[in-house]
């Protein structure tokens, strides 16, 4: 069904667009973070090396301290494995170095020098004994791989395998080589020193740092080779862990090295300059500027580790200058992913992540070199630093417009592997990486269902539910928990937002996913409670809700039971059709005494008392997808519409109301009445003044759907007409807002709906000077669609004979109302030519029935509002997709403040009057149990 596709896509597009734009941003940021860890280390290392030359002692100390921290964490786990005499010293050394470096950079910024210094000393003392350090090292190294590696031979083999000498340059290499001496590996002492410290470390790091430290270790290794920039970002953005580490060692070093100045600049750069080119530059600068002025070769980025070594060891200098050292090329790096030694793997992955950052070429090359499959394989690696680094690399690779990379990840079963890892790990950083990667992947249409199939329930159980604060079996005695707007939640909701746009089946799966809708609603309620409705997570949640509300009246199991008889639609005027209670959910007949309670509504919502509205009773509170369309949600969306400043969120909330009020079943009847009862009409009308095109459009369509309720139509006609007309372009000028064609058409269609069957509303259109604008549009608009839509309205107005006198008095005659474009019949349904288009926006039942995916009639396709007039698809997204990325930027960052909106432009009259005075106080609650 092409039509369907369109519709669905539209939502999808929206999502995807949003995703694409936002995600990209988001993703990139995330990516950046990841990369940062690795890169920073390298820089640090460089610095150290330089320092090391001059100030070995100090450096060492610092390093020691740092090392200790890191190791402590890891050691605990690794210790058991460690080979006794492996000489892990080298590995340790590498760890130490890397750590220190990192810290230096980071630390400079963050860490309190004092603390670090203290630690250092103590450690130093420990580390002094060469033997001591070694031993400790081994223990730490625990990892079998290391043991082997330690030996020089091992190195040789490794390097051979890799095929390049410099391997050592890599972090791992350094650590290994201690014995080789020939290598520039850092002095053994240094290496060892750290180990000694390690034992002590545990206590130090035992606190909150553990997690961090664990991360840092791997990172340290990796980072060394790469640019610092990343680190900065990561620090700034999310990683506190880093900061912690820095505290220990960083400060110390910096001080001695005199590095601090630089470090700051770095940060700035890192943040500001995400682009690769910049990154490269940064590396060099680092080298030169801070520390390694002597070394100063741009190429070194990766070699940083070597440099460090050199620093510490006397022979370093020679090594540095040794032309043999070079960065490994891409095939070598990918080969290292399969290296038997774990730290080599993790460093290689980290380096890959760094290389891939904002470099589509490298990403593509990695794919062609079969690197993606190897990275995916590493996701199941038992060592945290390995799967973390692999995940980081995959996140960067998965980001971008090149869908081939996404497909490649999926092609080697990367999605189930990511989900597996998510279930397995409790490390927040890893979880952020996993969900960030999935978010990236979810922006590609063909992968959406794959993600749903493999990960929907896991994402819900592991992230959405726990972070939303929702509990399926709440303890009555405890307060409900609030949602936590974590990065993991943001990423996951973004992913689900994308996949929720993948059509009817995707919607069905999400709706029926246990706990998902409940948790999303809880999270949104929590957001409203805390008045925190502008953030990205809320936006994602509302968008998911909006998408899941789409076609809910057709797609939900048992929807048939609730369909309104066709007749009722027509009768839906003054008195809403009285709906028989759902017998299934309520036993027995009402008793006489029921008068009070019969009007009761469920907590917060089931108002059976509107006009003649009679909500069905339930034997149990709604749950799961039923929550999507319970009248209670109206209050939720209205709160968001009142509170949020985020245009995307506003649009989505209005879109949700639009979707819910569009249906042909009794729930949409209730929703329409509920919006009135909850005083939602003034809220919506006020939003017609929004500066955001899409918000105006969504609100306009929502009003159109709402006006299927007769009382709503009367109220909207009386009090919203002026605002609607104000959004129309006038002859002399486009609207101040210069709304897009889609929006103008939406407004015109809404006006059409309002004046249909209501001479009174047509009269108010005349009184608000709407005719002048309509005639202008119908005669001279650049847009065919606008012309036709305006013509239809004019025809409708002219059909009220009682108005003709007044119209002619104003100087209008029949020719103004009978334009070429409008030779069609007046009825909304009978619209000519563009009928298809009109239908799409019309909420009427018939249309819906006519074609399931009605909106999609040939004509309307993508540009039109939505398949079903009421659908809340994003047009933009489509456009974005189609083309220019540039537009994304603006969307990405929704304007925070919309002065125009909040300031009470709205007339008091409207706001006051739109409230239906007849709405009674909320009746008492009455619950079936």
């Amino acid at each position: 069904m092409p039509a369907e596709l369109t519709q669905e896509q539209s939502p999808g597009n929206q999502t995807s667009l949003a995703m694409m734009q936002e995600p990209q941003e988001m993703v990139e940021e995330t990516v950046t973070v990841e990369e940062d860890p690795g890169t920073p280390t390298s820089h640090v290392s460089i610095v150290t090396s330089e320092d090391g030359t001059t100030r070995r002692t100090e450096t060492k100390v610092t390093k020691m301290v740092k090392t200790v921290t890191t190791r402590t964490v890891r050691q605990v786990p690794l210790g058991p494995d460690g080979l006794p005499v492996l000489d892990g010293s080298s590995p340790l050394g590498s760890y130490t170095d890397s750590i220190d470096r990192r810290y230096l950079k980071n630390g400079e910024r963050y860490l309190p020098p004092q603390a670090s210094s203290t630690l250092t000393r103590s450690y130093n003392s420990y580390g002094e004994g060469p033997d001591g350090p070694y031993r400790s090292f081994h223990a730490h190294d625990a990892s079998g791989g290391y043991g082997g590696a330690e030996l020089p031979d091992g190195y040789g083999s490794l390097s051979r395998g890799i095929g390049y000498r410099p391997r050592y340059a890599y972090v791992p290499g350094n650590s290994y080589r201690p014995e080789d001496g020939s290598y520039t590996l850092p002095s053994r002492r240094e290496a060892y020193g750290p180990p000694g410290a390690q034992p002590q470390v545990p206590p130090v790091g035992s606190g909150p740092d553990l997690t961090v430290s664990s991360r840092s270790q791997p990172e340290r290794f990796q980072p060394e080779p790469y640019g610092l920039e990343d680190d900065n970002r990561s620090l700034g953005v999310d990683d506190e862990g880093y900061e912690l580490d820095p505290d220990y060692s960083t400060v110390t070093r910096r001080l001695p090295a005199g590095v601090p100045e630089r470090s700051r600049p770095h940060k700035g750069r890192a943040y500001d300059e995400p682009s690769e080119g910049e990154m490269i530059d940064e590396r060099i600068p680092y080298i030169h500027g801070g520390y390694a002025a002597p070394l100063a070769q741009p190429e070194r980025g990766s070699m940083a580790s070597i440099d460090r070594l050199g620093k510490r060891s006397p022979s370093i200098d020679s090594i540095r200058k040794d032309p043999r050292w070079r960065d490994p090329d891409l095939p070598e790096v990918i080969a290292m992913l399969s290296h038997p030694i774990d730290p080599v793997k993790s460093n290689a992955a980290a380096y890959l992540q760094h290389l891939c950052y904002e470099n589509d070429k490298i990403k593509k090359d990695v794919r062609h070199l079969k690197g993606i499959a190897i990275l995916v394989g590493l996701l199941d690696h038992p060592k945290a630093e390995v799967h973390r680094r692999a995940c980081g690399a995959l996140r960067n690779i998965s980001y971008g417009r090149d869908h081939e990379n996404k497909v490649a990840i999926k092609g080697c079963d990367g999605i189930p592997a990511l989900i597996r890892l998510l279930r397995k790990t409790s490390d927040m950083e890893v979880r952020e990486l996993i969900t960030g990667t999935l978010w990236n992947l979810s922006s590609y249409e063909p992968l959406k269902m794959v993600i749903i199939n493999h990960g929907l329930q896991t994402l819900t159980n592991e992230v959405i539910v726990p972070h939303s604060g929702w509990e399926s079996e709440p303890n009555e005695d405890s307060k409900p928990r609030d949602a936590e707007w974590t990065t993991v939640f943001k990423n996951t909701s973004g992913c689900l937002r994308n996949v929720s746009s993948d059509g009817a089946e995707a919607r069905r799966r999400l709706r029926e996913c246990d706990g998902l809708v409940d948790a999303l609603l809880h999270a949104l309620q929590s957001a409203i409670g805390k008045k925190d409705t502008d953030n990205k997570s809320v936006e994602n949640c509302v968008c998911i809700m909006r998408n899941l509300s789409y076609h809910v009246h057709k797609e939900v199991p048992g929807a048939d039971k609730y369909q309104e008889p066709e007749a009722s639609q027509a009768a839906s005027t003054g008195a809403l059709p009285r709906r028989k209670k759902d017998d299934a959910s309520c036993f027995g007949s009402k008793k006489a005494k029921e008068d009070w309670f019969s009007q009761g509504k469920k907590n917060g919502g089931m108002d059976r008392n509107f006009d003649t509205l009679d909500l069905p009773k339930r034997s149990e509170s709604a749950k799961g997808f039923e929550l999507l369309y319970q009248p209670e949600v109206v209050r939720l969306y209205l709160s968001i519409l009142t509170e949020s400043q985020n245009f995307n969120t506003l649009e989505a909330a209005a879109g949700a109301l639009q979707n819910l009020s569009a249906g042909t079943w009794m729930w949409s009847t209730y929703i329409r009445a509920m919006v009135r009862k909850e005083r939602g009409l003034p809220v919506l009308v006020e939003l017609l003044q929004s500066d955001s095109d899409k918000v105006v459009r969504a609100v306009s369509i929502a009003l159109r759907n709402l006006s299927m309720d007769r009382r709503n139509k009367d109220l909207i006609g009386s009090y919203a007409m002026a605002e609607l007309v104000r959004n129309l372009p006038s002859r002399q000028q486009r609207t101040a807002k210069n709304l897009e064609e889609d929006t103008v058409v939406a407004v015109l269609n809404t006006i059409h709906e309002i004046v249909t069957d209501s001479a009174e509303n047509a009269r108010s259109l005349v009184q608000t000077q709407g005719i002048q604008k309509l005639v202008g549009i119908s005669k001279s608009s650049q847009s065919m669609r606008e012309m036709k839509a305006a013509s239809h309205v004019l025809q409708m107005v002219w059909s009220y004979k009682e108005l003709r006198g007044a119209l002619q008095k104003d100087g209008w005659n029949k020719s103004h109302f009978q334009t070429a474009a409008s030779s069609a019949p007046k009825g909304p349904k009978g619209t000519p030519g563009k009928a298809g288009y009109d239908d799409s926006t019309l909420p009427l039942v018939e249309k819906t029935h006519d074609n399931e995916r009605c909106g999609s009639r040939d004509m309307i396709p993508m540009d039109e509002l939505g398949p079903d007039g009421y659908s809340t698809i994003d047009h933009r997204e489509r456009k974005y997709r189609a083309g220019d990325p540039s537009g994304d930027a603006s969307e990405k960052e929704p304007l925070k403040t919309d002065p125009a909106r909040k300031p009470p432009h709205r007339s008091n009259r409207a706001s006051v009057n739109l409230v239906d005075g007849r709405d009674p106080k909320p009746p008492p609650v009455d619950s079936w149990v």
Binding site: P474, E476, K590, K593, W596, P924
Partner: protein, 124 residues
Amino acid sequence: MSYVPGQPVTAVVQRVEIHKLRQGENLILGFSIGGGIDQDPAQNPFSEDKTDKGIYVTRVSEGGPAEVAGLQIGDKIMQVNGWDMTMVTHDQARKRLTKRSEEVVRLLVTRQGLQKAVQQSMLA
């Protein structure tokens, strides 16, 4: 039956044991409740004291578990499985009654007829 906050309440109560009925996925009791400390007590047609914010039985489904167990419209629920129901919100009461893990609910209820019946029997 009027109550002074903070003072002990004396009432004649009846035990009602309701075995929930499985209806699809749900366990149902077959009655509905009104009232609660978060509701407007003045609208409660069953209470003698219009300031009483207790939980009242507002409807009983015919042939349902509650009717079988002898629950009547207008009964005031004092306890549910030992939990006090005289000072709870509507929703708390509902949740207390609808715990999925509990197949049987034991209520302590009081109703005007009970009070009178006891008085009469004592007089007699």
